[in-house]
C-alpha cells in the first residue's frame, strides 16, 4: 500500500515537473517578458540591466530551476495586464471557482449516477429512451448555449434568478464565500446547473454503459443461476463492480470541472479564475496563463491521487499488490 502510494506520488511529481516545464517555456519564450516591463524609450543598457536583474541571461536549466523554486513558493511574477502579482490574482478568485465547481460536481455526481443506474436497469423502458435521447442532446448543446438559454428563461423572462455575478459575499479570512447569503446562493444556481450538465450526461452514460457491461458478465449470470434476489444482484453485485471503472473516470471528470468552468464563468460573468484565464489569453497575459496551467495541473494531480487510492480500496485484486498498471 505504502509502496503503491509512493510510486503514484513519484509519478505525480514527474507530471507536475513536465507541466511546469511547459509553463516555463510559455512564460519565457512567448512574447518578450521585457517589453512588457520596460517603457517604450528604454535604452539597451536598461534592457541589459533588467535582463541581469531577472536572471534572463543565466543558463537555461538554472532559469527553469528558479522558475520551479518560485512556483513552489507561489511566485509567478506580475500580470502584464493588471499589474498585480499573479498569485494574489488567482487566490482572490479561487473561492468563487471552487464553490461553483463543488456545487456543480455534486449535482453531476448525484444525478449522473442515479440516472445511469436507472437507465441501465430499465433498459427497455420508454423513460429510458427519453433520458438517453435527452442526454445526447445534452452532449450536443454547447455549454455556453445552455447558459444563455437558462439566463433567457429564468433571468430575462421569469426574472426568478440573477443573470450574472456572484451576489453578496461574506469574507471569512481570505476566503470570500457566496454560500452564506441568499443572493449568493441564488446566483449560484444557474451557473452550477450549466456547468454540471455536461459532466452529468457523461457520468450517466458511463455508469449506464459499465453497468450494462457488468450485467452481461458470467458472474452476474451465475448469481442469477444461484437464485439471488434481483435486488442483491443489481445493487450488491452489479453496482459494486460498476463502480470500479466509474470511480476513475468520474474522478478525472470532476477534476476537469475546474477548468471547464472557464466557459460558464464567462457566460455568467462569474468572478473566478476561469474568466481571469480567458481574459488573459485574449490579452496574451503570459504570467497568468502559465500560473493557471500549473494550478489546473495541481488540481488534476491531487484528484488523480485520491482516485488511485479509492481504486485501491475498492478492488481487492489491486490490494494484493500484484501489479498496478492500468
Amino acid at each position: 500500500m505504502l509502496a503503491f502510494i509512493a510510486r503514484r506520488l513519484l509519478q505525480s511529481v514527474i507530471v507536475m515537473l513536465v507541466v511546469a516545464f511547459i509553463a516555463f517555456l510559455v512564460f519565457r519564450y512567448v512574447g518578450d517578458p521585457l517589453a512588457n516591463l520596460l517603457s517604450q524609450d528604454a535604452t539597451m543598457a536598461d534592457y541589459e540591466q533588467a535582463r541581469e536583474r531577472l536572471g534572463l541571461n543565466q543558463p537555461f536549466y538554472i532559469q527553469f530551476f528558479n522558475f520551479v523554486i518560485n512556483a513552489l513558493q507561489g511566485q509567478f511574477g506580475v500580470s502584464y495586464r493588471l499589474q498585480q502579482p499573479v498569485s494574489q490574482l488567482i487566490l482572490e478568485r479561487l473561492p468563487a471557482t471552487i464553490e461553483l465547481a463543488v456545487a456543480s460536481s455534486i449535482i453531476a455526481l448525484v444525478f449522473g449516477v442515479m440516472l445511469g443506474i436507472y437507465t441501465a436497469l430499465r433498459q427497455r423502458a420508454f423513460s429510458t429512451g427519453v433520458i438517453m435521447t435527452l442526454s445526447l442532446i445534452g452532449v450536443s448543446l454547447p455549454t455556453f448555449l445552455i447558459g444563455i438559454g437558462l439566463i433567457y428563461v429564468f433571468a430575462v423572462e421569469l426574472k426568478w434568478l440573477p443573470s450574472f455575478g456572484r451576489g453578496d459575499v461574506v469574507q471569512i479570512g481570505w476566503w470570500r464565500t457566496g454560500l452564506l447569503t441568499q443572493s449568493g446562493l441564488r446566483s449560484l444556481i444557474l451557473p452550477a446547473i450549466t456547468l454540471s450538465l455536461f459532466q452529468l450526461t457523461l457520468i450517466m452514460r458511463l455508469v449506464r454503459a459499465e453497468m450494462l457491461e457488468v450485467m452481461r458478465t458470467d458472474y452476474i449470470r451465475f448469481a442469477k443461476a444461484r437464485g439471488l434476489s434481483k435486488r442483491a444482484i443489481n445493487f450488491g453485485h452489479a453496482l459494486k463492480n460498476t463502480m470500479v471503472p466509474v470511480i476513475t473516470i468520474t474522478g478525472l471528470q470532476l477534476g476537469s470541472v475546474i477548468a471547464f468552468a472557464i466557459i460558464t464563468e464567462t457566460v455568467f460573468q462569474w468572478p473566478g479564475v476561469g474568466s481571469l484565464f480567458v481574459n488573459s489569453v485574449a490579452a496574451v497575459d503570459v504570467p497568468v496563463m502559465a500560473a493557471y496551467l500549473v494550478f489546473v495541473a495541481l488540481v488534476f494531480v491531487i484528484i488523480n491521487l485520491v482516485v488511485d487510492i479509492l481504486y485501491f480500496i475498492v478492488d481487492p485484486r489491486l490490494r494484493d499488490g500484484a501489479r498496478s498498471g492500468r
Binding site: 510559455v26 445526447l136 450536443s140 448555449l145 466557459i263 485574449a282
Partner: protein
C-alpha cells in the same frame, strides 16, 4: 455464444451473391434501415453540409459585401420586409445582414474548422496510437502518459492555451490570416489523445492475434504489418471517434469563437454569430441569436446521433 447460425463444414458454394446484395444485407445497413432517428439525422446532416459547402452560390444575399448592405435593413424580424423594402426569411442583424445568409456562411466556417481539426487529430492520434500499441515499451509509456494527462484537461482549455501561445508567437499583422489555421491546430492538438488511446488499445489486441504472428514469421517489415494488417482492423473505432470528434470539434470551435478568441469577426462562424446575437437578446431581437444557435445544435446533434449509431452498429463486430 457458440449457438449462432452458421453452417458447419459444408463445401463452400462458388461466390455468386453480388457484392451489392451482401452489403445491403450486412448488419450495418440493416441497423440503419431499422433506425428512423439515424435516417433523419443523416438527412439533416447532409442538408446542413450541402448548405455550408454551396453557401456562396445558394445564399440569398452576400452578407460580407459592404456594397449590398443597407443599414435601413437592420433589425428586420423574420419573415418580413425591411424598411428598405427587401424580404428576409430569418430577419437581419444590426447591420442589416441577412441572418439566413450569415448562418450559411457561418456553418461553412464552422464545418471547415471542425473537419480539418478532426482530420488533424485523427492523423496524429492514429499514428501515435499505432506506434504506442505495436512498438510498446518506453514509447508506449511516454505517449500514453501524455494522453492521460491531456485527457484529464478539457479540450477547450488546451485549445485556449495553444491559441494564446500562438498569439504570442505570431506577429500581429499576420494574426488575422493565420487565425483559422491556429484554431484548427489548437482544436486538433486538443483532441488527438482520444484517437491515440483507442487505436493503441485496438492495436494491442490486434498485435496479439495470430495473423500478425504469421506475417512476422514470414519476416514482413513491421511498418508494412502496421499499415497493411493492423490499420485496416482498427478503422472501425476510429470512424466512431472521428464522427463524435467532429461534433466535439464543431462545438469547441463555436465555444472558442463565442469566448472571442476564435475566428476573426470578418469571417464569422456560428459561434461568432451567437456571440453577436447575445447582445440583442435582452432588447428583444431574439432571432439574431436563436437561428444560429439552432443551426449549431442541429449540426452537432445530427453528427452525434450518427456517431452513436455507428458505435452501436459496429460494436458486435469489433470483438
Amino acid at each position: 455464444m457458440t449457438d449462432l447460425p452458421h453452417s458447419p463444414e459444408q463445401p463452400v458454394p462458388a461466390a455468386k451473391a453480388s457484392r451489392w446484395k451482401t452489403f445491403i444485407r450486412s448488419d450495418i445497413v440493416w441497423s440503419y434501415r431499422r433506425s428512423p432517428v439515424t435516417i433523419t439525422a443523416s438527412i439533416v446532416a447532409l442538408l446542413l453540409v450541402f448548405m455550408a459547402i454551396f453557401a456562396p452560390w445558394i445564399a440569398p444575399y452576400n452578407p460580407f459585401n459592404p456594397a449590398t448592405l443597407n443599414l435601413m435593413d437592420g433589425f428586420t424580424p423574420p419573415n418580413s420586409n425591411s424598411m428598405g423594402g427587401r424580404y428576409f426569411v430569418l430577419g437581419t442583424d444590426s447591420q442589416g445582414r441577412d441572418v439566413l445568409s450569415t448562418i450559411m456562411h457561418g456553418s461553412r466556417v464552422s464545418l471547415f474548422v471542425g473537419a480539418m481539426a478532426t482530420l488533424f487529430a485523427m492523423v496524429m492520434g492514429v499514428g501515435l496510437g499505432l506506434v504506442a500499441g505495436y512498438v510498446g515499451g518506453i514509447w508506449d509509456a511516454v505517449i500514453m502518459r501524455v494522453c492521460d494527462v491531456q485527457l484529464s484537461f478539457p479540450a477547450i482549455l488546451i485549445a485556449l492555451l495553444i491559441f494564446g501561445v500562438a498569439r504570442g508567437i505570431i506577429p500581429p499583422n499576420q494574426q488575422e490570416g493565420a487565425a483559422i489555421w491556429v484554431l484548427i491546430i489548437a482544436i486538433g492538438l486538443a483532441n488527438w489523445a482520444q484517437f491515440a488511446r483507442t487505436v493503441r488499445g485496438a492495436t494491442m489486441v490486434e498485435r496479439q492475434k495470430d495473423y500478425v504472428a504469421a506475417a512476422r514469421i514470414l519476416g514482413v517489415n513491421p511498418f508494412i504489418i502496421l499499415l497493411r494488417h493492423v490499420l485496416p482492423n482498427v478503422v472501425g473505432p476510429v470512424l466512431v471517434i472521428g464522427t463524435i470528434g467532429l461534433a466535439l470539434a464543431i462545438i469547441e470551435e463555436a465555444t472558442l469563437s463565442y469566448l472571442g478568441v476564435g475566428v476573426p469577426p470578418t469571417q464569422p462562424s456560428l459561434g461568432t454569430l451567437i456571440r453577436i446575437g447575445q447582445q440583442f437578446l435582452f432588447s428583444g431581437e431574439w432571432w439574431i441569436l436563436l437561428f444560429p444557435a439552432i443551426t449549431l445544435v442541429l449540426l452537432a446533434l445530427s453528427v452525434n446521433l450518427l456517431g452513436d449509431w455507428l458505435r452501436d452498429a459496429l460494436n458486435p463486430k469489433l470483438r
